[in-house]
Amino acid sequence: MKIKWALLSLIFTITTVLTGCDQPLLVLDPKGPQAKTLSDTIIFSMVIMAGILLVVYILYAYMLTKYRASKMGEDYEPPHEEGSHTLEIIWTLIPVIIVVVLSVVTVRSTSDVEAVPKGYEEDKPLVIYASSSNWKWHFSYPEEGIETVNYVNIPTDRPVEFRLYSHGPISSFWIPQLAGQKYAMNAMINELNLVADAPGSYIGKNSNFNGKGFAHMDFEAQAMTASEYVQWVEDVKETAPKLSEKEFNSLLEIDFVGRKTYSSNHLTFSPPPVGNHGHNPDEKDGKDASEDESNSHEEHNQH
């Protein structure tokens, strides 16, 4: 047993030394309110879990040191023990309470991160379509009328609404320091709201395996002050080439490209999917699908 404890503490020190010295872990180093909520939730749950582990380990160590055969004497015969109602109630009830607490925290934090961050509800969000194709990310700014590939610039202190979809297999859009991830899929739009507190360059990536080039599918998310951002948009509009349909299609075809910038976007000729969850825009709600069906019925009668 001693060897094991020694080893565990060894691992622990090694890992803290290896990771702790230069930088905090990405997920626990939030740079925006959404990531902050998540990081707080994670740390809270870690503390609780550490408490649970502690209880289990103390009991465990006690049982193993106290009741080993070598200590119990040759003719010690363990008693028959059926179980104890009191104890059983204790170790059912306390976990139930813990789970209830965790549930409350979960439901709260989940609704928080799914909504526009607190304090920014009034601001007009910047909408960016982020779509993935074979190991690239395309970022289309519908209002600015520009598009980038494999990098995205956003203003700080302004809510950004990413609208995610994919031109192929499911991918997952993730900027660990700004917000949790969400899938980008082919036939529907998923929304991801985030705000960056501080200017800086953040790692963004696809975290959902989507084939051969998956490992290389990361991008840079650059948060800049509002004025810098406006300046950048102006620059792009002036200097970058237009994105033609032909060029866009060839972009979709190739496996990897570097960064690209365009002064128009693909949404005009290759519109994003319309549906939300449930895929079919006109029949979003399964419960009154039948009414919807009767509407579409007329059209179908033609054949």
Partner: protein, 93 residues
């Protein structure tokens, strides 16, 4: 001849025909979606019970508790799979 057609079986058959007819009303009468689904659910489960209990003799052997548990478990899994999937994939809540 008569012993070949026990009353319970004949009744069961008639009953299932009647239930099918009742279910048919959802097509011929204009009614709300909820109403229609309620009728279908009731008639379908009633018919299934007729089959299971009357024709399949579910309660006749010593293992009947096992059989009921088995069917109940299957329904539990089936119902939650259907509802859960709809909740996740179709219903927009």
């Amino acid at each position: 001849m008569k012993q070949l057609f026990p009353v319970s079986h004949v009744m069961g058959f008639v009953f299932s025909l009647v239930l099918s007819l009742v279910a048919l009303t959802v097509v011929f009468y204009d009614m709300s979606y909820a109403m229609g689904m309620t009728i279908l659910l009731i008639t379908a489960f009633a018919q299934a019970s007729v089959q299971l209990l009357m024709f399949m003799h579910m309660g006749e052997s010593k293992d009947k508790v096992t059989l009921y548990t088995n069917i109940a478990y299957a329904l539990f899994v089936g119902v939650f799979t259907i509802l859960g999937s709809l909740l996740l994939l179709v219903w927009d809540i």
